[in-house]
């Protein structure tokens, strides 16, 4: 008999990312990240695979577990960032490792917090620098700025995953090894959001926003830097577009962006610019944001697109506007291409991430790795079943149901509504640890993609006026459908949980219904005015949720949308899980709801993690992830007892 999925499975899980080919396209490098129980940290190392050989085996290159970004230095050398020598704060060490053997040797160091992006020419690298724009010298017998105190002069002032920061920017720079010079190519107060290097490695196309002493708007400027001449030219002026990506395609530049005036519709489109800087021409509207290696190929681009519950690797022909699906996965996190094929890191069915090789011509797909085979064979992972229904507002809503592990149709089981983590994100059929663990604990786990989810078209995505209302109604209708379809679920033993947006929705749900017997809010918002002012992307959230309304024109709608405002309607026992370094949702916010619930005499508890950031991806210690899962299952089990 297979083993149950437990909270400790965290130590067997891993992720695969950062796929990159060497120049000749025969060797693929990628990173594998997993949890180290002894050190209680996440370890990332570089792996290698020869994809030209039939049955080639992935091989681990580095072993220190503290690898940062890495690039191909030559055909058989990889240059990477590593903390193995414990560099001082503000210094980054780089090492070179040869594929033909021997441990890595130190290559050089940059006296900045730097991330390798690309090799430009021998001894010249494009790097991303993260630093204070106006650093101050620490005086003797004075508190040290950036360590003992921080001064914020712009907005956002909190950056998720970064700790507190001074007025700092992500800058693009060229590093010259010989001269040890870091030449910043972006303007002083420019925050880089994305970049693309042309094929000859002579020009850098980049986008971002210059802001100083005022709030960042999220609207980008598109620029090009000529490495030889050092000149910069502007393609798209500031303040007009929110750009998802920009890339060189033959003689043109292709941009996926949302125009300022279309943003409220949550619309985005593909635009074409010629390199002489003619006005952007809209090629087509797009249903969702393209991600991962949105590279140009054959009159079009390649990328990952959310289509219903799947991540599809697609080719979009910009002339015919035809979209061809090359590969279909539950989740696809990274891709790299050669002349003839693409390799993606993806989760398929209930498996853990593997590498898949897809022919660009379609038709063939091959799984290159077996990282997750052992785990899959040993554990009772339940395949989610799709369950769709017609919502009362006429929308077709898709959902999934995971039956309990070792399920018997004659049994009676509790059921958990598990809400996805991202606003305008979605639930997929991919392996998700907390869901599978609850299934192993003998619970039905179900979820759906209600109005506001991506992958179902732009009308479906619209948030303003729907959040906490339409999505709530559809979650409830879905719950009804699930209960009807699966009489094995004990309707008196229902739970609800989610992280981030899912945490917010959990709060909303228990303020509107008592049908759930227990709830767990992970990293969820509670007070929208606080949230929109403090969060890193607070003003974007404000726009998305409330359109023109601000707390100063219509505070009522902010309060109305705040779970805190409805505390008196809450009866469901609620466990909060939150971390003190969550810079996307400051922990004071759930604390407000916690206190109010206590005042009302509701059964509630707060599990506070020290040092972690927002959501599951913000967890920095594996033991905290294990504890989180234990607390989640524990709360439900405790409250489902007779």
């Amino acid at each position: 008999m297979k083993a149950k999925v437990t909270n400790r499975d965290i130590y067997q899980l891993y992720s695969v990312d950062e796929l990159c080919y060497n120049l000749s396209g025969d060797k693929l490098s990628f990173s594998v990240k997993c949890a180290d129980e002894f050190e209680d940290k996440y370890c990332k190392d570089i792996w290698l695979l020869d994809t030209t050989k039939e049955g080639g085996k992935a091989q681990r290159l580095t072993a220190s577990g503290d690898i940062g970004a890495f690039i191909w230095e030559s055909e058989d050398e990889i240059l990477f960032e590593s903390g193995r020598n414990q560099p001082k704060a503000g210094v980054t060490d780089f090492f070179k490792i040869s594929l033909s053997g021997a441990e890595a040797q130190k290559a050089f160091q940059i006296n900045e917090k730097a991330k390798l992006l690309a090799k430009l020419s021998e001894g010249n690298y494009l790097v991303e620098i993260l630093k204070a724009t106006d650093p101050k010298q620490a005086a003797a017998d004075r508190a040290e700025e950036g360590k003992e105190f921080w001064t914020f002069t712009d907005y956002p002032f909190l950056h998720e995953g970064e700790g507190f920061g001074e007025c700092r920017r992500k800058m693009l720079a060229v590093y010259n090894v010989e001269k040890e010079t870091v030449s910043v190519i972006t303007q002083k107060y420019f925050e880089t959001a994305g970049y693309c290097l042309d094929q000859e490695k002579k020009k850098v196309l980049y986008f971002g926003e210059t802001y100083f002493e005022r709030a960042k708007t999220g609207y980008h400027e598109l620029l090009e830097y000529d490495i030889a001449s050092g000149e910069t030219r502007t393609f798209l002026p500031a303040g007009m577009f929110k750009i998802n990506f920009a890339l060189y395609a033959d003689s043109e530049i292709i941009v996926q962006a949302s125009k300022r005036d279309s943003l409220k519709q949550q619309e985005c489109g593909l635009f074409k610019l010629d390199r002489e800087g003619i006005q952007p021409e809209e090629i087509m509207k797009t249903d969702s944001v393209y991600r991962e290696a949105a590279a140009a190929w054959q009159n079009g681009i390649l990328g990952v697109q959310a289509v219903k519950m799947s991540d599809e690797f697609v080719h979009i022909n910009l002339q015919t506007k035809e979209i061809t699906t090359l590969g279909k996965y539950e989740e696809c996190t990274s891709a790299a291409e050669t002349e003839d094929y693409v390799v993606v890191a993806a989760k398929k069915e209930t498996g853990l991430p593997e590498l898949y090789k897809i022919s660009k011509k379609g038709q063939t797909e091959e799984c290159l790795t077996q990282f997750g085979t052992e785990y899959a064979e040993a554990h009772e992972v339940v395949q989610p079943e799709i369950l769709s229904f017609a919502a009362s507002n006429g929308e077709e809503v898709e959902g999934i149901v995971i039956r309990p592990a070792f399920y018997s149709p004659d049994g009676k089981y509790p059921g958990i509504l598990f809400i996805n983590g991202e606003m305008n994100g979605r639930i997929t059929k991919a392996y998700m640890h907390q869901m599978q663990m609850l299934a192993s604990e003998g619970m039905f786990v179900f979820s759906c993609n209600p109005h506001g989810s991506e992958g179902y078209g732009k009308d479906f995505l619209k948030t303003q006026g729907h959040l906490g209302k339409t999505d709530y109604e559809q979650y409830m209708e879905f719950t009804d459908v699930v209960l009807e379809k699966f009489p094995q679920i004990d309707g008196g033993c229902l739970g609800v949980t989610g992280t981030g947006y899912g945490g917010y929705m959990t709060n909303v749900i228990i303020s509107k219904t008592d049908r759930f017997r227990a709830a767990v809010t992970q990293d969820g918002f509670c007070h929208m005015t606080s949230e929109c002012l403090i969060a890193e992307k607070g003003n974007a959230l404000m726009e998305r949720m409330f359109g023109e309304d601000t707390p100063w024109t219509n505070e009522k709608v902010y309060w109305e949308q705040s779970p805190l405002a409805h505390v008196k309607d809450m009866k469901t026992p609620l466990l909060f899980i939150h971390a003190d370094q969550d810079h996307y949702c400051f922990w004071g916010e759930p604390m407000q709801l916690f206190t109010a619930l206590k005042q009302c005499g509701i059964d509630t508890k707060f599990l506070l993690f020290y040092g972690d950031g927002h959501g599951l991806s913000g967890v920095r210690k594996p033991s905290n992830m294990v504890k989180r899962a234990e607390a989640l299952a524990g709360w439900f089990k405790e409250h489902f007892k007779e």
């Binding site: 921080w150 914020f152 002032f157 507190f164 407000q592 020290y610």
Partner: protein
């Protein structure tokens, strides 16, 4: 030529606290603190004064002493950690407090006993028995059955855990952190037998304890989910070992209490008229019969010194029963006076007039106090027949060296039925006809008080050529409950008072450049600064410290408890969020054009950093110049007891901010 005050000057000052007269009345011990910028902390030492000739000695040297008790007429007991063994045990996760005995007539302190308790303080019962108060952690694993190795592993694991369960409110304490299921607990310790007996249950939180003879009187309550606002009072008889309840919980807010022979005096209020901020009346409890009588109505004044300053540190006694007299400190208008009551007749008299008395002790009618007198620094005084006799001279030298700006009283009738009273400090080297920038300072509370005593921060600005002015608007302490109760009216009458006072200052002192007036304040003063910048553009710069911006968020976070916000705004967000929003500075933030500096501590559990974050972000979103300075590991007390480097940096940041916005024209002219 005297020196100007600069940001660093507080480093030269010495702070006195906790005076206690020896049981025979011959000596007075006290604690002296001084900042040390190198170690970035405060030195804390024990001194003893001979009351016959005022001669004085520093008593400790091997380690610092921050708390102590007289055991008998020649022995002082203090907690410390000097033994390597105890240090190692604590390193292994054990809880320990050692007590040392120091004979004031000679010899170094010797270790007397160690108890397995954390952060313990003691009260001698005599005969080598003690009442001990310490922190009890209900969440700590039970390791009583473990092997030594297991025990160490479990305790260290608990110490290093990366999470915390919170299941009660309030759950934090400013300056301490998360305190969930941690309780101050009372024990009785017998030094001879080593017996340690808990007197209160694990979930009972002791708020205060006083010991006199066999009578141990303590206040507190047991709770699991929500701590009630009003504690109970208990009496433990050390002879019979029996405990009796003197007052049930949920009836009165207990402010202060003191125990004498067979009598306890408690300052408490039912808060029926003015809520929990209402000043206490004095009740007398007969400890033999348990009978309670209203001894003196005291609503007009409160017990303790509410006159604020940024140059004091440490605690001490505010009430004392000596013979048949009760002595206590009362804030009256802008002074903190010593007040005396006859316990039999109830007759009341003031023993001092001006000055701000922090701590007192009395023995056979002889009064010792630590106080601010005139524009001097804190020193110890003897009060005899209403006359002040200075005992210590720790800060005399500093006082001589610096140019102190003297406060000028200003009273304004304005629209208030009470009138507004305050003071103006002129710039050092003031020349009539020359134009100067001005700075309005607003105190915290709101039920605190500004008085004509020395405040370092203000003198930095007067030394740098600013007028500084401040007042006690409605809501402040010292003028009774009617004056002090502005519940539900925040940002209205208090704002009016402050603005009318500002008008009067500008009229009376035409040399203040109206275009170059700034405003600053901390806590409630930070709230008011935030309010002001959203409701008038008359100020050219502002500095809001440890401020409040959004009551509905503050309600569920502040360590004071959720009653604090409705206590001020008049209503909970659960009843009427609109009323809270109307009184929230954030609601006016979109109108703000005043360049504002926000200063906050990352561990401020009184007013959480989210308060500053929200106001700062709102200003940024509306294009108003703003800066937020966040101090790592500092709390609500940064300006008063923050680590010296951080405390200094706070002053520098504030000073630079006002220099930038209030002196620009001057610099350009030069």
């Amino acid at each position: 030529m005297k020196k100007p005050f600069i940001c660093e000057t507080f480093l030269d000052l010495q702070y006195l606290s906790d005076p206690k007269i020896s049981p025979d009345g011959r000596y007075t011990a006290f604690i002296l603190k001084k900042a040390n910028i190198k170690s970035n902390g405060y030195e804390s030492n024990l001194y003893v004064v001979d009351n016959s000739d005022n001669s004085m000695r520093k008593m400790n040297s091997l380690s610092m002493v921050a708390a102590y008790e007289w055991e008998d007429e020649e022995t002082i007991l203090f907690p410390g950690m000097r033994s390597a063994k105890v240090k190692e045990e604590v390193g292994n996760g054990e809880e320990r407090t050692s007590f040392y005995a120091l004979n004031i007539h000679g010899g170094e302190a010797v270790e007397r006993f160690t108890v397995p308790l954390k952060g313990a303080s003691l009260y001698p019962l005599g005969n080598k028995e003690y009442i001990i108060m310490s922190t009890y952690d209900n969440g700590r694993p039970d390791v009583s059955e473990c092997t030594p190795d297991e025990r160490k592993r479990e305790l260290l694991e608990y110490k290093r855990k990366g999470y915390e369960y919170i299941d009660e409110v309030p759950f934090s304490a400013n300056g301490i952190g998360i305190l969930n299921k941690r309780r101050s607990r009372l024990y009785r310790h017998n030094e001879r037998t080593g017996d340690l007996e808990a007197l209160t249950t694990p979930l009972f939180r002791v708020s205060g304890v006083k010991v006199c003879g066999k009578h141990v009187v303590y206040t507190g309550q047991e709770f699991t989910d929500v701590k009630g606002l009003k504690d109970a009072i208990y009496l433990y008889d050390a002879e019979t070992r029996e405990t009796a309840c003197l007052l049930e919980k949920d009836l009165y807010s207990i402010k202060f209490f003191e125990v004498g022979k067979d009598t306890a005096i408690v300052s408490m209020t039912d808060g029926k008229k003015h809520g929990s901020n209402q000043n206490g009346d004095l009740y007398k409890f007969n400890l033999v019969t348990g009978e309670r009588t209203l001894f003196a109505e005291h609503q007009h004044h409160n017990v303790w010194n509410t006159v604020t300053t940024d140059v004091k540190l440490g605690g001490g006694r505010m009430m004392k029963i000596d013979g048949d007299k009760l002595y206590c400190i009362s804030t009256v208008d802008m002074d903190a006076r010593i007040e005396r009551f006859d316990l039999t007749t109830g007759e009341q008299e003031y023993l001092t007039e001006t000055g701000a008395v922090d701590f007192i002790d009395v023995h056979d009618g002889k009064i010792i106090c630590i106080a601010f007198k005139g524009m001097g620094f804190e020193e110890m005084y003897r009060i005899e027949d209403g006359e002040w006799h200075q005992v210590t001279h720790f800060n005399d030298e500093v006082k001589e060296q610096y140019e102190i700006s003297m406060p000028e009283f200003l009273s304004v009738q304005g629209s208030s039925p009470f009138g507004v009273e305050g003071y103006v400090l002129k710039p050092v080297g003031y020349e009539e006809g020359k134009k100067y920038p001005g700075l309005l300072a607003i105190h915290g509370g709101p039920r605190l008080t500004y008085g004509p005593i020395f405040m370092h921060q203000m003198q930095i600005f007067t030394s740098a050529g600013y007028f500084v002015f401040f007042c006690n608007p409605r809501g402040a302490e010292g003028r009774g409950d009617e004056f002090g109760d502005i519940k539900g009216r925040l940002g209205t009458v208090d704002f009016d008072d402050i603005m009318e006072f500002t008008d009067a200052v500008l009229e009376k002192y035409p040399d203040i450049d109206k275009e170059r007036v700034g405003v600053e304040g901390g806590s409630y003063g930070g709230f008011m600064t935030n309010w002001i910048i959203g409701h008038t553009d008359r100020f050219a710069a502002a500095c809001a410290q440890r401020s409040v911006s959004n009551w509905s968020g503050m309600e569920g976070t502040s360590d004071i408890g959720f009653h604090f916000c409705p206590g001020n705004t008049g209503v909970s967000h659960m009843e009427d969020h609109d009323a809270q929003w109307r009184q929230a500075p954030l609601s006016g933030a979109h109108q703000c054009v005043t360049p504002t500096l926000f200063i906050h501590g990352s561990l401020d559990y009184r007013c959480w950093q989210q308060e500053a974050y929200q106001m700062y972000a709102a200003l940024k979103m509306h294009g108003c110049p703003a800066k937020l300075c966040l101090f790592e590991g500092e709390n609500h007390e940064l300006s008063r007891s923050g680590r010296p480097k951080q405390r200094l940096q706070r002053l520098v940041e504030m000073f630079d901010w006002f220099e930038k916005y209030l002196k620009t024209d001057e610099k350009e002219a030069v």
